[in-house]
Symmetry: C2
Subunit: 342 residues, 2 copies
């Protein structure tokens, strides 16, 4: 039996997302079977969770437990109200477990708004961090790219973007092993003098920021091409970029698959091309990289896509293991600590 | 011989873009050969233009002329300075021809900044229009989608976005024959209460705006899926969306082509799949829809991609013909006229 002291403990919202609880529970079991160093606590309605578990094969029972939570926050509910009203919802219970140190991370595929508000209101920020951003991995031709922020801070200040750059660098260095991650800010051109008011104010601050490899502006076109490792922007623009990229990739990939299914000849052609296409399709598979971590909280909160399947849940659990092993939060706390008063 | 009175006259920046003057001049000749109702004036260095023309085949010489302009505004030059300093540049000369009514439209694949500033400073606005936006067509799974604004107004006011919605509706109704174009505003979710400060202020104004079919918020994901006909946003976000969509499509389409070229087997497979793929690839071909018109100026200004080839130039000229035939500017002037004082 594994030493419980050394295990990474992940709480998982079993009720969140379009495919809950089935795919969520399946993802947890897959992650447990594939990773000896993790313990999962499924948060949600015990009876429903047990029903799914009963239909699954073997799994390490000593590393899987259920924390009953009787309520569910629905996608359309106003988040702050929902958090106040549904104290026994899976999201509120899971967030409080993070805050209390009962687990290292909480993963949900449920309401983005509730995940965001819950992170801000129920889980404490690391000292020195002004605004925790959502930082998902984007697919690109050259591999993973971190986008900060993609949904948390709609009208941020320049100092917030500078912190996004610092946190994003530290994350990509440790999680993806990139020695000196290239940091860029989203702009409408590559020339220094371009942009809206926010970018014009932020640019010189990023130039002056020590400890990051700031390479200047990046246009939307260069993001899927892999022109930077960390892409910094406000949450509104980031959200538009993330969803446009995922939407375009999805439309094209589905279009390719539909084309291949059109006739016997195209099906044969598809079989011949498929092995060569596989690598490209995998690179642009949004489920490949897990969910979007909210950086800068005392524990990790990860938001998965609403339509997550078992695979994205498993990848997100593995992301939490690496996050803990690499001691990202300890490093963030050290790097972002406020200057001591003289 | 065609009646000169009825021809649409298009001035074309022969010096702008990565492939000038060769591809630009070729695009003009292709457009002339394919469309009897247009006259093209090539603006730029006469000698260089004549050299390209000498290498081309037959074309209707009575409908092609050259307006000599000795200077060229380079891509990196600060636009306002460049417009002031280079009075004999192709962009300044072309813009002044629009203002003077010597032509109906001016097309350039040169500096975006100079096209933008030139439109604002050298060509007059239609009375009642506060801020002319750039409005390119985006490809989508369901056909063309108009994105307003994508580069002109970085920090717009809510009233500007309302005008973008009105102008965009009129444009799509006439140019694409959509009876009641669906207008949406870019947001981070579909719920009414979401968004940044600008969207929250603009949303109720769009709801109250008569004469448009406002369908609410649209997320980035739904844009390539064709979830609206007119997508309204600030220029900063619009630019990020346009370029992310084009960049993602480009990376994937190149990736598919590379995969097909990998071996003899994949090449055979590619031949079998290609006819079925053709329609999809054409839909997401950025050159298919011409350039981005700047709406609300007394004459039409169209900005093409910097890497435009003859095909995009020809499509843009055809776009100018339709714009004139449909009397878009006359309709805009009528629809957007300021309320008369009592």
């Amino acid at each position: 039996m594994a030493d419980m002291q050394e295990l990474v403990t992940v709480a998982l919202d079993a009720m969140g997302g379009d495919n809950a609880p089935g795919e969520i529970v399946r993802g947890a079991v897959d992650a447990l079977n594939g990773n000896a160093g993790v313990r999962v606590i499924l948060v949600g309605r015990q009876e429903e969770i047990e029903k799914v578990l009963a239909g699954l094969g073997n799994y390490p029972k000593d590393r899987l437990s259920i924390r009953h939570a009787s309520e569910v926050i629905e996608m359309g509910e106003p988040p702050v109200n929902a958090l106040r009203r549904k104290k026994d919802s899976s999201i509120v219970v899971g967030m409080k477990m993070v805050r209390a140190g009962e687990c290292d991370a909480f993963i949900t595929a449920g309401s983005s708004g509730a995940a965001l508000a819950g992170g801000q209101l129920l889980v404490k920020r690391i000292k020195g961090i002004e605004r925790p951003p959502f930082a998902p991995i984007l697919p690109s031709a050259k591999g993973p790219v971190l986008l900060v922020d993609c949904g948390a801070n709609m009208d941020p200040r320049p100092s917030h973007l500078v912190q996004f750059a610092q946190m994003g660098s530290l994350y990509m260095k440790n999680m993806c092993g990139i020695e000196s991650p290239r940091v860029a800010i989203v702009n409408v051109g590559t020339e220094e003098e371009k942009g809206n008011a926010l970018v014009k104010e932020t640019y010189p601050l990023l130039q002056a920021c020590e400890g990051i490899n700031f390479i200047g502006n990046i246009e939307g076109r260069e993001i899927p091409a892999g022109g930077a490792d960390v892409v910094v922007t406000d949450a509104f623009t980031g959200n538009a970029i993330l969803k446009t990229l995922e939407g375009t990739a999805s439309v094209l990939i589905h279009g390719i698959k539909d084309s291949i299914m059109q006739s016997t000849l195209t099906k044969i052609g598809g079989l011949l091309v498929k092995p060569a296409l596989k690598d490209l399709l995998r690179k642009f598979d949004a489920t490949e990289y897990g969910g979007a971590p909210m950086l800068g909280l005392t524990g990790l909160v990860v938001k998965c896509h609403g339509n997550s399947t078992a695979k994205e849940i498993r990848k997100s659990i593995e992301q939490c293991i690496l996050f803990k092993e690499k001691r990202i939060n300890e490093q963030l706390a050290e790097a972002m600590a406020p200057e001591p008063a003289e």
